[in-house]
């Protein structure tokens, strides 16, 4: 093959592959345009005023995933009519949680070269109080019942040059003093009464009991544990094995969490369980599908969690005592929190 022939082939290939690539980009761009149009069968969403201290009864706040101009915005619905019209706030968050008039919003900041992330603490009117740079991709967020503490978890990948190793980083901020513990891995770990040290510790999924104590997941050596955290003593004490993304019940007696079950298919390894902290007895919920989310207690006996859906994810609900069946709560939504 002469040099000319080879160059001609290369040019043709560049043109062909270039068109395919350009086509893929244009198609994806077009599709993202569609997302800005209201989906026909979707819920009604309209802009409005959102308060984290609602005056009109109990409300459910979510990140709205329904297609339309308010996609990805924090929106509220009446707690007793979750499929009803949504009020969108104009504030976009990847993850969100709120309690007692304090909100924590994890956002992406689209930079020229790459995305960066930040955690923004919001007041009851969704006004920014303080922002913190976040080291990676947001995944969990929680506010303590009093609204004084906020916590968030991000996934850190060394970045593309360092391979596919992931780790988590969890930060806790006191909104009264703005003091930050930006990495809970620095806390002392106590396992079976003895100090434990390892380089591969990851902590994620904080759930607050009060303004000092919290629960979280600690992973090390390929296993996950439920830990009780103490902010004043800066300790994490292991309580139970095979627990991820704990969520403390309103009365503080039970923890809902995702458990890796034996025999489940490896692409759907988690089931939703509830652990009684007094008896340390765990029991499965009636949800048979794999749940990769930090569940939320709607009240003393009901759990809310996200499962993959047609538009990102839908919210489902199931009883905490293992009875009943899983039921759909609301479509095209993620990151729920109850207000009021």
């Amino acid at each position: 093959m002469s040099r000319t022939v080879r160059l001609v082939i290369l040019t043709l290939a560049v043109l062909l592959l270039g068109s395919v690539g350009t086509g893929a980009v244009l198609y994806a761009a077009h599709r993202s345009g569609l997302r800005d149009q209201q989906q026909a069968d979707g819920p009604a969403v309209h802009a409005g005023t959102v308060s984290l201290r609602p005056t009109t009864g109990r409300r459910l706040v979510v990140r709205n995933l329904a297609w339309g101009p308010h996609r990805d915005e924090i929106a509220t619905v009446p707690a007793d009519d979750p499929q009803g019209p949504r009020t969108a706030s104009g504030v976009k968050c990847l993850r969100f949680h709120a309690a007692a008039g304090t909100g924590i919003c994890l956002q992406a900041v689209h930079g020229a070269l790459q995305d960066t992330y930040r955690a923004v603490v919001l007041d009851a009117h969704l006004r920014e109080l303080r922002r913190f740079p976040a080291a990676g991709i947001p995944t969990r967020a929680r506010v303590s019942p009093s609204g004084h503490l906020v916590a968030w978890t991000v996934f850190v990948s060394g970045d593309s040059y360092a391979g596919t190793d992931f780790s988590t980083r969890t930060a806790v901020v006191d909104t009264r003093t703005w003091a930050i513990d930006d990495n809970l891995e620095n806390f002392r770990v106590i396992e079976d009464g003895r100090p434990y040290r390892a380089a591969d510790i990851n902590v994620w999924g904080v759930t607050f009991a009060d303004d000092d104590r919290f629960y979280a997941t600690l992973a090390t050596g390929g296993r996950t544990h439920l830990v009780r955290g103490d902010l004043a003593a800066r300790t994490l004490t292991t309580l139970h094995d095979n627990v991820e993304c704990p969520s403390l019940s309103p009365d503080g007696t039970r923890v809902a969490y995702k458990k890796r079950v034996a025999g489940a298919s490896s692409d759907a390894p988690w089931r939703l369980y509830v652990l009684d902290l007094r008896t340390m007895k765990e029991s499965p919920t009636a949800e048979r599908r794999s749940v990769d989310d930090q569940a939320l207690w709607a009240d003393a006996s009901t759990l809310v969690y996200a499962l993959p859906g047609d538009y990102g994810s839908d919210l489902w609900t199931v009883r905490a005592d293992g009875r009943g069946t899983a039921r759909p709560l609301m479509t095209s939504a993620v990151a729920p929190a109850y207000l009021g």
Partner: protein
């Protein structure tokens, strides 16, 4: 083959260029292979850059399982590399075929990501991608050695590594540009990455010769040597293992492994650097970029320097630079300038050792065993670094990061002294 047997290149100072000889330009084959690597790295780094985002933000999954698989992939990758090197040497003509298969396998993995929506499937695709990488590495380095005049190999590998790193730096930029244009269009990123990877395979097919005749030796080292005998039909596995009986290759493999055992993995080093230097966590992703940029800038000049000053010497000096870097991390000097200095030293270490080791290996192996020879040294080094990662992780847990680094630095110093003794210039002996 007398070519690769000829000592004097890299071991001691290389001979002066012959009278009236212009320093040879980098051979077209090396530039073609460099272009293949550049294009392929754009493709693969595009995927690696957006994969975490895709998994967490796009699919809503927790990606922690990836970390566990990484170790397994590393081990498999090292073994595949040995197989690739050996297969490629078969008959001395299969380098391009085996490398092409490796590039093609990785290229096929990109469109597969369009269909993968669960972690195990994504992990399987990544493992296949790694297999492709393992398969192609040794034959590619063998082709670079064979195509280049022995006295210019350091420079040739320098050019190749610089082009390779350019691709690695461009990849994420392209990926985020696509992501920006499509608003979270991960499928578009994978599709474009697949197209770019195919282009890389095509450049290999079109512009890399199927059989690379070893470059002519410079006139100054050739006279008096016997005419090479025709190559035996194909090297057997036994021949490949027998390579270790060659003192020079044995010495290189031993030293690469020994020094690999005391080389802290990049992620641990960056983690320590960030903690010791009190660097804000969100700047963490910039650290590997610093190393890559320095590697890119210095790969060619240090490769050329290796050709003149001796490759083994530069390989050792590179580890000396790394030792300085460790010292700096441990020193009380903190702040941005210290971090930059460590990254410069870290990048210099890569520029002085990565391509240079391949060039030194080339000189220690006969032409018909180039693939197996490159694989042997590379695998030894990769497995050793993996073992070091495991040990370092355990040491960190026991003693804390600072002490673990201090102990590793001490071990590196000892290894460097041993390596300097093992790799000392040997007197010229006629075969």
């Amino acid at each position: 083959m007398y070519l690769a047997d000829s000592r004097g290149t890299g071991v001691t100072a290389a001979p002066d260029p012959g009278p009236g000889r212009r320093p040879a330009a980098v051979p077209a084959t090396v530039l073609a292979l460099g272009a293949v690597s550049l294009v392929t790295d754009v493709s693969s780094e595009m995927v690696t850059a957006v994969l975490p985002l895709y998994v967490v933000a796009g699919l809503g999954l927790s990606p922690l399982g990836f970390g566990l698989l990484d170790g397994i992939n590393n081990g498999v990758g090292a073994l595949v590399r040995l197989a690739g090197g050996h297969l490629a040497d078969g008959g001395g003509r299969r380098h391009k075929t085996v490398a092409g298969l490796g590039y093609a396998l990785s290229a096929l993995c990109k469109p597969l990501l369009l269909l993968a929506h669960t972690l195990p499937v994504i992990s399987a695709v990544l493992a296949a991608d790694r297999t492709g990488k393992g398969l192609r590495t040794a034959p590619r380095d063998a082709m670079i050695s064979l195509a280049t005049e022995p006295r210019h190999r350091g420079r040739a590998f320098g050019v190749h590594r610089a082009m390779d790193t350019t691709g690695a730096l461009l990849g994420p930029l392209v990926a985020f540009a696509v992501l920006r244009a499509t608003v979270d269009g991960y499928d578009a990123v994978f599709a474009v990455s697949g197209c770019v990877a195919l282009l890389g395979v095509l450049v290999l097919v079109l512009f890399v010769p199927g059989h690379i005749a070893p470059a002519p030796a410079p006139a100054t080292t050739a006279p008096g040597r016997p005419v090479p005998s025709p190559e035996p039909a194909r090297p057997t596995l036994r021949d490949a293992v027998g390579l270790l009986r060659r003192p020079e290759l044995r010495a290189l493999t031993l030293c690469a492994t020994l020094l690999g055992l005391t080389t802290v993995s990049d992620s641990f080093l960056y983690l320590l650097l960030q903690r010791e230097g009190d660097l804000p966590a969100h700047l963490f992703p910039l650290l590997p970029l610093g190393t890559a940029a320095v590697f890119l800038l210095l790969a060619l000049p240090l490769g050329a320097l290796a050709d003149r000053a001796g490759r083994r010497r530069l390989f050792l000096a590179g580890h000396g630079v790394l030792l300085l870097g460790y010292g700096l991390v441990l020193s009380p000097w903190h702040g941005a300038p210290a971090v930059v200095a460590v990254l410069v030293l870290h990048g210099t270490f890569y520029a002085a050792t990565d391509g240079v080791l391949a060039a030194a290996t080339a000189a220690a192996v006969p032409a018909r065993h180039q693939g197996a020879g490159q694989a042997l040294v590379g695998t030894g080094q990769a497995l050793a670094r993996f073992a070091c990662s495991l040990a370092f992780g355990a040491a960190w847990g026991l003693w804390g990061g600072r002490t673990a680094l201090a102990v590793t630095a001490g071990a590196l110093a000892v290894s460097a002294v041993v390596a300097a003794f093992v790799l000392r210039p040997v007197p010229e002996v006629s075969p």
